[in-house]
């Protein structure tokens, strides 16, 4: 499998603070790597290094086969970048912004024009194409910014929190666009605050915290890492809790966890279905009045909190 984005031991220091302390990444061609991490983890710094905006202090990286330090121009020719904050000219119209960027990508004026119109249509901005960007809403800006990064049909796409601040419809439009790019063989590196988004789009996920990759794998692998499935029993009344705890302790052979306010008792499943049926029988025998009985897989949110300790301690 060909590797489109590779980073080895990236380090970047700001004053005495290490924003990146040895980031390693590898993204196969045509796949999407989702980067998750709390505020200040180093996501944007990583993207900026890979997009040649920032020189790393140490380490090396290659994008589309070119070294970011030695062949920045070739890298820039192959990439599209949507930064964390929309980078647009407020006083130009949406169409003018896209045409300018297309021209600067050296598409030629005619091609830049055609491509701009096509993208304005695709991102539902045609109605506002002739308006100055300063009149755009936040979501419209983000969409225009994404269009700008797609204008030269890049082989590698960097998206830094592309859907932050977008409403549901725009987010879905954007997801479609991203899937379309992937289907066309484009490699995407995307940071996001939305775990659901990573779950939906990413082939692999890297969790960054404190400037290093602390976990990496498919969404399923990460979930498995922090624990398997759990059985969750909701009860009709507080008085049923003790009996339920006893019943579950015997069958699951692990200490059940009680959540008082939601009247639920949960326990991790060792033996899968076998435990489920035994637990159901034991609960029945104990006469507990259950209102809910469900097997839950850990959510990516749970994974995230477990891995990062729920902190943003590195933020400065």
């Amino acid at each position: 499998m060909e590797i489109a984005i590779e980073a080895v031991g990236l380090r970047k220091r700001y004053g005495g603070h290490e924003a990146l302390c040895g980031v390693d990444l590898s993204v196969p061609t045509g796949t999407l790597l989702g980067i998750l991490g709390p505020n200040g983890a180093g996501k944007t710094t990583t993207v900026r290094v890979l997009a040649t905006l920032l020189e790393p202090d140490e380490g090396r990286a290659s994008v589309a086969g070119y070294d970011v330090r030695d062949q920045p121009r070739e890298v820039r020719r192959s990439i599209g970048l949507t930064g964390q904050y929309a980078a647009l000219d407020e006083r130009l119209t949406g169409r003018e912004n896209l045409r300018l960027i297309g021209t600067l990508y050296r598409l030629g004026r005619r091609a830049a024009k055609a491509r701009a119109d096509e993208l304005l249509d695709r991102l539902d901005l045609a109605h506002a194409a002739e308006r100055q960007v300063k009149t755009y809403s936040g979501g419209m800006r983000r969409r225009l910014d994404l269009a700008a990064s797609l204008i030269a049909e890049p082989k590698v796409l960097f998206l830094d929190e592309p859907t932050t601040g977008l409403d549901l419809t725009s987010r879905l439009t954007l997801w479609d666009m991203i899937r379309e790019q992937l289907a066309g063989g484009v490699t995407v590196l995307m940071t996001t605050q939305y775990l659901e988004e990573a779950d939906q789009l990413a082939d692999r996920i890297a969790v960054i915290d404190g400037g290093r990759v602390i976990a990496d794998g498919t969404s399923d692998e990460l979930k498995a890492k922090v624990g398997g499935e759990r059985l969750e029993v909701s009860l009709a009344d507080d008085s049923d809790i003790p009996a339920t705890v006893t019943a579950l302790r015997e069958t699951a052979a692990a200490e059940p966890v009680v959540a008082q306010d939601s009247r639920t008792v949960s326990v991790s499943l060792r033996d899968g279905l076998k435990t489920v049926s035994e637990a159901a029988a034991a609960l029945d025998a104990a006469g507990a009045r259950t209102v809910g009985f469900a097997v839950r897989r850990p959510s990516l949110d749970g994974v995230f909190l477990a891995l990062t300790g729920g902190t943003t301690s590195r933020e400065r």
Binding site: L53, L81, A87, D89, L104, Y105
Partner: protein, 263 residues
């Protein structure tokens, strides 16, 4: 080279759209210089007299020069704005030539300087200002002014890249331009000043440019031929000074652009 020209022309197009769409920008090169010529001419013109010339004509070279100096602020603000709203990041992620951003910016601000010069010349003419040394020398005078304006644009680009914020840019530009214009012969003849102050003002590079324009426009007072070296030979001194400053500031600004964006 072809690519540089195409990048620069696309970016100049962007700045020209700004000029039309941002009223303050257009006013700063039309209404402001008009106000300068009228206010300074009428107010000071009736209060101050200079030997051998009328003060209004004497003043024009000073106002022209001051207007060129304000280019520092224009360019610096534009560059700082692009830095803070991410446009520079976007440009830096494109396979365009690096220097084209600053070349386009300074050329566009040179266009502003041309507009300002033309406006001031028309208003000055209506108020009685005339050139007396012929068309070519007058043209050379405007050429020198625009060279100063272009140099100031590059200096402004450097300041904008280093200062990064509009507030800092404004105060730096103010602190630079104010003393340079007022401690010069732009608005007052230096003959009446105490010795040390006169010496200081005569060695101020701005005085050389103003004196050079007065010479080329034929708006000199009778009392030339004395004074420090720069005001004795104002034209060559101004050319050399602008050339040297430009040669220092252009590479510095291009370097600062590379680094500024790389934070």
């Amino acid at each position: 080279m072809v690519e540089l020209v195409s990048d620069v022309s696309a970016l100049v197009g962007r700045h020209m759209k700004h000029l039309v769409r941002i009223p303050e920008k257009l006013l700063s090169v039309t209404l402001m210089p008009v106000a300068y010529v009228v206010v300074f001419g009428v107010l000071f013109g009736s209060a101050i007299s200079v030997p051998g010339s009328d003060y209004r004509s004497y003043l024009m070279a000073g106002i022209f020069t001051q207007m060129m100096l304000t280019n520092v602020g224009n360019t610096a603000l534009g560059v700082a704005g692009d830095l803070s709203n991410g446009v520079v990041d976007r440009f830096r992620s494109l396979p365009m030539s690096r220097s084209s951003v600053l070349i386009a910016r300074t050329l566009s601000d040179l266009t502003l300087a041309v507009i300002a010069c033309v406006t001031m010349a028309i208003v000055g003419y209506l108020m009685g200002w005339r050139v007396h040394e012929g068309f070519l020398k007058a043209l050379a005078g405007f050429g020198l002014l625009l060279l100063l304006g272009y140099t100031m644009a590059w200096l402004g680009a450097l300041i904008g890249l280093l200062a990064r914020s509009a507030e800092a840019v404004n105060s730096i530009a103010f602190m630079l331009v104010m003393p340079l214009t007022f401690l010069s012969n732009a608005f007052i003849p230096l003959d009446g000043l105490p010795g040390w102050l006169r010496w200081l003002c005569e060695w101020n590079p701005v005085s050389a440019v103003v004196a050079a324009c007065r010479e080329l426009f034929g708006n000199t007072t009778t009392g030339t031929g004395k004074g420090a070296f720069p005001v004795q030979y104002p034209v060559p001194v101004s050319l050399v000074l602008c050339g040297l400053l430009l040669a220092a500031v252009v590479p510095a600004a291009v370097g600062a652009y590379r680094r500024a964006a790389a934070r």
